[in-house]
């Protein structure tokens, strides 16, 4: 019995290790290829360790004349920050309304909220495009930011569940001390919901940073593109025979730009891993 358990445990470790190598290898390959010269990326058998690493790829990507990477980066930061603030305000307010306040129509609205979580959004794509066109918002970041200020069903749901776990005695005590609904929201609910808000912030950051379809259809102007769409200019340039329009964008550059694009997500993930994983678990198990 003991021996069998030991064998099973060993097998589990071996499987996990093999899997871990398989899962991690692409990351290594990405890094490795981004640190090779263009020529060295196309050698068979492949070079396994860049020696010496070609760090200048990471400098050159910021200086390609026809690909404004610094601008893409800035656009993404603006977009993510602006959307994040709005999403936090709108979802925490609605979460408070659904989780704590009593108002006519609350339960009906909540049913609608849950329904929108499960209805796939593809039917709204075309009308929204036409709406934003009508508003003159195409080729700006507005269609990517403004909807976030109007909340997000899943996050509101998360927030509601969290608000319901905060003891109502706290509200009552505050009310006796003369606090109004808004001050209760701001001074009690918001601070106590910090864990839920952190989770929402991280999700929202990840989603907005990676958002692809919407910027693809709403933005047609190079200077306005966020990173996720803009980084593809390296792809088109690198795929051209001869390595790009002016011959100086290579696969190495494309992969270095890919690293630059995913790095912020990884940094946020490692900085806030607990909140991140908690969020996946809550939304997955209870969703």
């Amino acid at each position: 019995m003991r021996a069998r358990r030991l064998a099973a445990r060993t097998l589990a470790y071996v499987l996990l290790l093999v899997g871990a190598v398989l899962v991690s290898a692409p990351f290594y390959w990405l890094l490795r290829s981004s640190l090779l010269t263009e020529g060295d990326n196309f050698i068979w058998p492949p070079i396994l360790i860049p020696n010496p690493p070609v760090w200048r790829n990471y400098v050159e990507i910021w200086q390609v004349p026809f690909i404004p990477l610094p601008l893409f980066f800035r656009n993404s930061v603006v977009l993510v920050v602006a959307a994040l603030i709005g999403e936090l305000i709108a979802t925490s307010m609605a979460g408070y309304a659904f989780g704590r306040l009593r108002w006519w129509g609350r339960d009906v609205m909540f049913a609608l909220l849950v329904a929108t979580m499960f209805l796939p959004a593809q039917v709204t794509i075309i009308p929204l495009f036409l709406l934003f066109k009508q508003l003159g918002w195409l080729n700006t970041l507005l269609p990517l930011i403004v909807p976030s200020w109007l909340g997000h069903a899943l996050y509101i749901f998360l927030m509601r569940q969290f608000v319901m776990t905060i003891p109502p005695d706290l509200d009552d005590a505050a009310r006796i001390d003369g606090c109004g609904t808004f001050r209760i929201y701001w001074n009690i609910i918001v601070p106590l919901s910090a864990p839920a808000l952190a989770t929402i912030a991280i999700f929202s950051f990840q989603t907005k940073w990676n958002q692809f379809f919407e910027p693809l259809i709403y933005i047609n102007k190079t200077e306005v593109l966020p990173l996720a769409v803009g980084v593809r200019m390296f792809q088109s340039a690198a795929l051209l025979p001869g390595g790009g329009v002016s011959g100086n964008v290579s696969w190495s550059h494309l992969l270095a730009a890919t690293v630059v694009m995913v790095l912020p997500i990884l940094v946020v993930f490692f900085a806030a891993q607990r909140a991140f994983i908690q969020g996946i678990v809550i939304s997955g198990v209870k969703g």
């Binding site: 692409p26 659904f98 039917v123």
Partner: protein
């Protein structure tokens, strides 16, 4: 709040109802931004989309009413069937594979493994990146001559791998591989569900002589079946709406072998600017997704077990 003794009852009543009214208003006020979003970004556009699907509209001039013309046209459109087929086959391959691997990994990690946080992070990392980054990375890994995948296949198995993305026979499999790489999300959800399964169940089963497979089959799977079910539904909806990877890696080629439905919808609406036909396409996918979900829900009662809610 200074009221004379005689006016008090009426004032109290009025005050009460005013307070009630204020409470209702506050509720609506706090939910306001979302309600506005629901109307302007959801209900309104959905209604508009129904109307658009009955028109021909190329963004110049105004929509021309064509009745059910778009829907009739879809019936005879081979690319509709091709894209539905591609999307369905992709979902049929990637969703079950992800379910099984996601559950398998979670079971492995649940075996009182040391440094569980480290393992969890390693497996979850690809899902963290997601999107464009993953697509660009895999374009390089799947390169026919210099990619890591074919290098590994050659080194370990002596196989000369195909030109994954430009070979009509393998392109769709390439996307299944990519989707499998980002299995970490469902693994994580499964793992947390597994950690909630009481260990006594396993101990009792062991005493009764159940082997490892039987414990998985008769304890693990039934106990966390609602979570598996959730992963199934979410997985299918996501797979049938696949776009980003396909757009970045193949744009539907070669020879429409990877033309997903959303890719075709995108081309129709935003490249050919056929907004009416595109809207009708969106509704067809909507109905298709709805029917599939309904069927899965119907059959779920056979294998999904809900416990009485705890606490």
């Amino acid at each position: 709040m200074a009221a004379t003794a005689t006016a008090q009852p009426a004032a109290a009543r009025r005050g009460l109802s005013r307070r009630k009214l204020a409470e209702h208003l506050t509720g609506w006020l706090f939910a306001g931004p979302w309600v506005l979003g629901l109307m302007t970004l959801f209900v309104g556009p959905m209604l508009w989309s129904i109307y658009l699907s009955l028109t021909a509209y190329s963004m110049s001039g105004s929509p021309t009413f064509v009745g059910l013309g778009n829907y009739v046209e879809m019936l005879g459109d081979p690319r509709i069937f091709q894209s539905l087929k591609v999307t369905t086959v992709f979902a049929l391959m990637s969703v079950p594979l992800n379910l099984v691997v996601g559950l398998g990994l979670a079971i492995l990690l649940n075996q009182k493994i040391r440094a569980i946080a480290v393992w969890r992070t390693i497996y979850y990392l690809p899902a963290v990146i997601s999107g464009v980054g993953v697509a660009l990375l895999w374009q390089w890994l799947l390169n026919g001559r210099f990619g890591l995948l074919n290098y590994a296949l050659y080194t370990f198995f002596g196989i000369n791998g195909p030109n994954w993305l430009s070979d009509q026979g393998t392109a769709l499999y390439a996307f299944v591989i990519i989707s499998l790489w980002t299995v970490g999300g469902s693994m994580l959800v499964n793992l947390s569900a597994l950690q909630g399964v009481p260990t006594q169940l396993y101990e009792a089963a062991s005493i009764d002589g159940a082997n490892g497979w039987q414990r998985v089959r008769y304890i693990t799977v039934p106990t966390i079946s609602p979570v598996i079910f959730y992963n199934l539904i979410v997985g299918i909806i996501a797979a049938l709406q696949s776009f980003t990877f396909f757009y970045i890696l193949t744009k539907g080629g070669p020879n429409n072998a990877t033309l997903t439905y959303m890719l075709y919808l995108y081309q129709t609406a935003f490249e050919s600017t056929r907004m009416g036909y595109g809207s009708a396409m969106a509704w067809l996918l909507f109905v298709y997704l709805g029917l599939l979900t309904l069927v899965i829900f119907k059959f779920s009662s056979r294998w999904v077990h809900y416990e009485a809610p705890k606490q």
